[in-house]
Symmetry: C2
Subunit: 346 residues, 2 copies
């Protein structure tokens, strides 16, 4: 590999001058700088970041830990982070935890070895414990929070989003509204459940725990939960369903399809998180949409700006708004049709 010394020799200067010409051009005379740049170009020189980072005791890399890259939501998050990082000349190490705290722990340790400048993480259920491994690192949590005090977070207004969704169902006349919610050791699930409860309460509808099913965020969980809810006696079962995340929504909808339950005639459905699938399935799904890309981008910007501004910035918690997208999967209970026209509403 061609290194600083090679360039220095070709340009007939000392290695230090080459280093300066590349990193602090203003410290080097115009002519020498040109000569050096020319030499570097000629040799195809690329600075060794390993050496540079070792010496500066600070790298131009970030760690990104998400729970499932196959989930379009997370892929979009990753893209947002990537783009922001690239804009600031940072390179990102990507890790997947599959929601497994043990994989998260390993990822954190590996990451530690690579001396990243900061960390963006969608925390697993046990992240609070795991994050003790990297206390020295500037961290931003995105999408959800581990509850670790003093950590910056960039999230969506889950409570408000859920409230809007359930409010919509109530407005249509539903009283028995089911919810499929994620694991309660994950903050988004807790918050969306809270939004559900708030909407019910505001409408004076008592909370009925038999209508709320827990799932582990996966398609299969949504499927099982929907089956359980819909096998309740007709007068007890929900007439509408609010599903707490995208994958479980898929499972629920497919289960309903298999059971021959028509949406929205027999059951109204609202999902959390939009996707192409939700928009183009039959019937098109009414959802609470999240600014996913922006979430990732902003989280990364937040991290980077806290790096450059030093430690003095207060741990901020950013909440982005969701938007409610009305499509064709909801109708008044009992089956009168509704919503054949598409429209949006904030």
């Amino acid at each position: 590999m061609v290194n600083l010394d090679d360039v220095a020799k070709l340009a007939q200067v000392s290695p230090a001058t080459v280093s300066r010409a590349l990193s602090r051009p203003e410290m080097v005379a115009e002519a020498t700088r040109k000569r050096i740049l020319q030499a570097a170009q000629e040799l195809g020189y690329q600075p060794n970041q390993l050496a540079r980072s070792l010496r500066q005791r600070s790298s131009q890399t970030l760690g990104l830990i998400i729970t499932d890259i196959l989930n379009p939501f997370h892929a979009t998050l990753a893209k947002g982070v990537q783009d922001a990082a690239e804009k600031h000349n940072y390179t990102v190490f990507l890790f997947n935890t599959d929601e497994d705290p043990e994989k998260e722990r390993r990822a954190l340790n590996v990451l530690r070895g690579h001396q990243p400048r900061g960390l963006l993480i969608v925390p697993s259920p046990q992240a609070k414990e795991n994050l003790k491994l990297v206390t020295k690192l500037p961290i931003v949590e995105l999408d959800r929070t581990s509850g670790t005090p003093g950590i910056r977070t960039v999230m969506v207004d889950n409570v408000g989003g859920a409230r809007k969704a359930v409010q919509h169902l109530i407005d249509l006349g539903h009283r028995r509204i089911g919810m499929i919610v994620g694991r309660l050791d994950i903050s988004t699930a807790v918050e969306r459940l809270q939004g559900y409860r708030e909407a019910l309460q505001a409408a004076g509808i008592p909370y009925d725990e038999t209508l709320v099913r827990l799932g582990n965020h996966r398609e299969a969980d949504g499927r099982a939960a929907a089956q359980a809810l819909l096998s309740m006696p007709p007068d007890k079962r929900p007439t509408a369903l609010f599903v707490g995340n995208n994958e479980m929504t898929v499972g629920a909808v497919l289960a309903l399809r298999e059971m021959g339950i028509r949406i929205p005639q027999e059951l109204s459905v609202v999902g959390f998180d939009d996707s192409r699938w939700a928009a183009t399935i039959e019937p098109a799904l009414t959802v609470v949409a999240q600014p996913t890309y922006e979430l990732g981008f902003l989280a990364c910007e937040t991290l980077l700006s806290s790096l450059s501004r030093g430690q003095d910035t207060l741990p901020t918690s950013i909440r982005l708004d969701t938007s409610f997208i009305l499509r064709e999967s909801t109708a008044p209970p009992g089956g009168r049709k509704n919503g054949l026209k598409k429209r949006r509403q904030s």
Copy 2:
């Protein structure tokens, strides 16, 4: 940060011994090793990979360059690569090129600075030129090839996959079969087009270039191409459509929907690359499915084994088989129904 010296002091040995205890345990006496491990544990020591890689002149990192992480196909590829890399204790740098050769060039340069041990790349159209930047690096191309001689590739049997798809349409009785194909400077597009032509030829159907439309892999391109094809006069327009990649298939299907053209009664459709969307849309799409995860995993395994076995391995080109999945989007021309039952066939 706690370093080797700290551990050495605590364990009352020299730094060299600590290094050995960690990297070549067999070179250190049982007792000392235990003491050292204990000390390392106590201090929460994590080796600095930057220093280690610098010294060894070889890192435990890989570069992965894909063209679009938002495309589930690429996300799945990335997951396969990740999993294989993790299994062998490698960490991966992820880059997105968005099919932009300039972004690819930048990614390659940045990557070079981080001294990865090898590179996995889904090459952009100008990769052949760009890859000259990293001639020293062991490379595996996946999904498609840049045509650079001597480079290992892990791809799918695109010709065979396309042939099966078109053969199926021919068997149903179609003669005017349209194809929406990707940019012809991308190998997968060329190969899939070739499979299309081979199937036609084998059936004695002349190749009609007005039935073949080029697109740039995006949903919008599939949409435009489908609109163009279907606005041909009824006696000239295709009765069946083979679409060369997943995103364009989405566009084509949505365009057909908007035009009110019923699938498969008025037009049969076969896509390349399966997805949840394809499987659950109405009607469920008949597709050529790819072993995507395996493609990524295998590509990474191939790269890593070539690293450990040294340079002597021959540049291998691996082809994985596709599988044809018959669902509900194809029928004989003229509208007789078919394929309401789902089944698979290799």
